[in-house]
């Protein structure tokens, strides 16, 4: 257990640098671009699956967690979530595709799900 906060902290610490590095890392995205140009392996299926399914879960949990922290009534929290969740989902889509590798997208979304889930457990208790 004590490893988790440390891992999380170092993750946060590295996130910005990682993000910049990811954007600067031309090799992989260049490769995909080139293979797309050649018509070889066109569709980015791995990212698509991550964005659609994990992105959906992460968007739902993250929006729920975020709004559950606000000091407003539960009904209002829900409505606010409904308003924002589509935007969050689309933003995660863009994020997954902006990163250079799909494995990082997978990792980041998993962490987002875990953190949001944790927040929800803290704010809502175990609902199920």
């Amino acid at each position: 257990m004590p490893h988790l906060p440390i891992a999380f902290k170092s993750y946060l610490h590295n996130l910005a640098a990682d993000w910049r590095a990811g954007l600067a890392d031309k090799s992989q995205s260049q490769k995909t671009m080139e293979s797309a140009k050649k018509g070889g392996k066109p569709a980015p299926w791995a990212r698509l699956v991550i964005a659609v399914f994990l992105g959906y879960l992460a968007a739902t949990l993250a929006t729920g967690a975020l709004t559950s922290l606000l000091p407003i009534q539960r009904g209002e929290q829900t409505v606010l979530s409904l308003l924002l969740v589509g935007l969050v989902y689309a933003a995660l889509f863009v994020y997954v595709f902006a990163l250079s590798g799909w494995s990082r997208a997978l990792r980041d979304l998993c962490i987002l799900c875990a953190v949001s889930g944790g927040v929800l457990v803290l704010t809502k208790g175990l609902l199920f």
């Binding site: 980015p44 698509l48 929006t63 729920g64 929290q77 409505v79 979530s81 889509f93 595709f97 902006a98």
Partner: protein
């Protein structure tokens, strides 16, 4: 930022391509939906002239009398006055009652101004079917349809974001449209239609997600409320303000006179008209009367309403059309999406924006094939895939408008009285589309484009003629002229068919000119980047 732009361009391409055809369908049928009420009337030519509400109170009591006669021990009466374009233009009466074994029985009646029932029209889904397709997709369960629509909208939103990032010079190329320059022209047209209508596209996509949110983002409710047998009721109460109906006491009370309540309503909400009258537990001591305005009287998709005690006439609640909470923001966006508030001119603006949305997707899809074609050199498998997509594009893009026209042909030509007639109208539409997709696959794309675009021009231009041949509600009688009011709501549909026909004729001419040129050159690829600009 080079790489971000590259990855965004890559994402834009793939998200757009994956849902492009679905979104194209949603855009076209959804745009038609801006005239759903008018199309409803066009497709039911047997119906008499619309009812004009002169005295709301008289119309309401007429509707309530009808309801009381039809379902004496109902738990709810609802009367809709034909004041807004959201309705059929007749008085509508709904009753809800409970049968002895606890089943809910609903009644639905449409009345003319004198209280007589509306004569039956041909069995048709009307404009509503065409409009509802853009998120239910007709043949599949509505829930699955809403999921597909929601996912398509999220893809679209992501494609908009990535498209903006990809577009290098959104401001300095704002006015740039280079015609007759092959692939360059396709890119320019795609950029121009997208950037011009960008506010509309963002609005329509985001609000589209909101309109299916309760299905598509159902887990949000579970996140906030958990999952047990009470979840649904708690959500309905806390989020949507819907509570269980109050039990009858069984104490019989005469129904209150509606006229003074309407006067009170107009006093409390001077800007609102009475549209819906809802009476719960009529004739009981727990009875309430709710008068609501129409959502078509303003941008918010939430009517104003006043709730009265059904016995004493005391005002219980008043809700005005104001944005007071987050739901208000959602209602605003949903109201913008549906455009019910739009007057005749703004409605045309909505349709043009919607059509440009369709054009945005169509140009994007074609642009993809052009780019792809340039990059392909000697990869047989990829080329085969590309050819299939190129050919499918024809049938999907040019074929869908023809299929929509086929729906209107079917409405006039499918014999009245056959079983499942309404369903057959839609079947005709989709069979036509299927046939055109097959046609597009079978022909060389260039000939297929020319043939289908010309066919589209012809079929749309002919609909008003067909209308004149089969009914007496054609442009000859519906067009408002000096000295006669005509019927503008019906005329506008026929006029749109003519305009769309002319539009396709223009596009077909361009396609014809282009294919003529290419033949002279001797079989170069369509859209080769070497065509000279027209003499200016």
């Amino acid at each position: 930022m080079q790489t971000l732009r590259q990855s965004m361009s890559w994402m834009h391409t793939w998200t757009g391509l994956l849902f492009g055809w679905v979104l194209y369908f949603m855009f076209l049928t959804g745009t038609a939906g801006y005239y759903d009420a008018e199309m409803d009337r066009w497709m039911r030519p047997e119906h008499p002239a619309p009812v004009e509400v002169t005295d709301p109170a008289a119309f309401v009591s007429m509707g309530l009398d009808h309801a009381a006669a039809a379902a004496p021990d109902a738990t709810e009466y609802r009367v809709f006055l034909p004041i807004a374009r959201t309705t059929t233009p007749f008085v509508r009466v709904f009753t809800t009652s409970q049968s002895e074994d606890g089943e809910i029985v609903r009644g639905r009646y449409e009345l003319l101004a004198d209280g007589s029932p509306l004569p039956a029209a041909r069995d048709t889904g009307g404009g509503q079917t065409l409009y509802r397709m853009h998120w239910t997709f007709h043949y599949i369960p509505a829930v699955i349809g809403e999921f597909i629509a929601g996912l398509a909208a999220v893809f679209m939103l992501a494609a908009i974001i990535s498209g903006i990032i990809t577009h290098k010079k959104i401001f300095s190329d704002f006015f740039t449209l280079r015609l007759a320059k092959g692939q360059r022209s396709w890119l320019d047209s795609h950029n121009v239609v997208s950037v011009m209508t960008l506010p509309y596209q963002i609005m329509i996509t985001f609000s589209g997600i909101l309109l299916v949110m309760t299905t598509f983002f159902l887990p949000i409710f579970i996140v906030h409320y958990g999952y047990n047998e009470n979840t649904q009721n708690t959500v309905l109460e806390e989020v949507f303000g819907i509570t269980d109906p109050v039990e009858r006491t069984g104490e019989n009370v005469a129904l209150i006179d509606i006229a003074p309540l309407i006067a009170r309503y107009e006093e409390l909400l001077p800007d609102e008209r009475v549209y819906i009258v809802t009476i719960t537990n009529p004739g009981d001591s727990t009875s309430t009367v709710q008068l609501s305005g129409t959502i078509a009287d303003g941008v918010l998709r939430e009517p104003a309403s006043v709730k009265f005690d059904g016995v004493t006439g005391e005002v219980l609640t008043v809700s005005r059309r104001k944005i007071t909470n987050t739901m208000g923001v959602i209602n605003l966006l949903e109201g913008l999406h549906e455009g019910l508030f739009a007057g005749p001119v703004l409605r045309i603006g909505f349709v043009i924006s919607g059509l440009m949305g369709g054009g945005m997707i169509a140009t994007g899809l074609v642009l993809w094939t052009k780019k792809r074609r340039q990059k392909l050199r000697g990869d047989d498998k990829a080329e085969r895939n590309l050819i299939i997509i190129e050919r499918l594009n024809v049938g999907v893009i040019a074929g869908l408008p023809i299929a929509i026209a086929a729906l209107f042909y079917a409405n006039r030509l499918v014999p009245v009285g056959i079983e499942g007639r309404a369903e057959w109208e839609v079947n005709v539409m989709f069979l036509t589309w299927l046939a055109l997709i097959v046609h597009g696959l079978a022909r060389k794309p260039q000939s297929a484009w020319l043939e289908q675009l010309s066919a589209a021009a012809a079929v749309f231009a002919f609909i008003p003629m067909l209308n004149a041949l089969t009914t007496d509600k054609h442009l000859g009688s519906t067009l408002p002229l000096p000295g006669r009011p005509g019927d503008p709501d019906l005329a506008v549909i026929d006029l749109w068919f003519l305009v769309i026909g002319a539009g396709f004729a223009y596009v077909a001419t361009i396609a014809a000119r282009k294919s003529g040129k290419i033949n002279k050159k001797g079989g170069a690829i369509e859209g080769a980047a070497s065509e000279p600009a027209p003499a200016e």
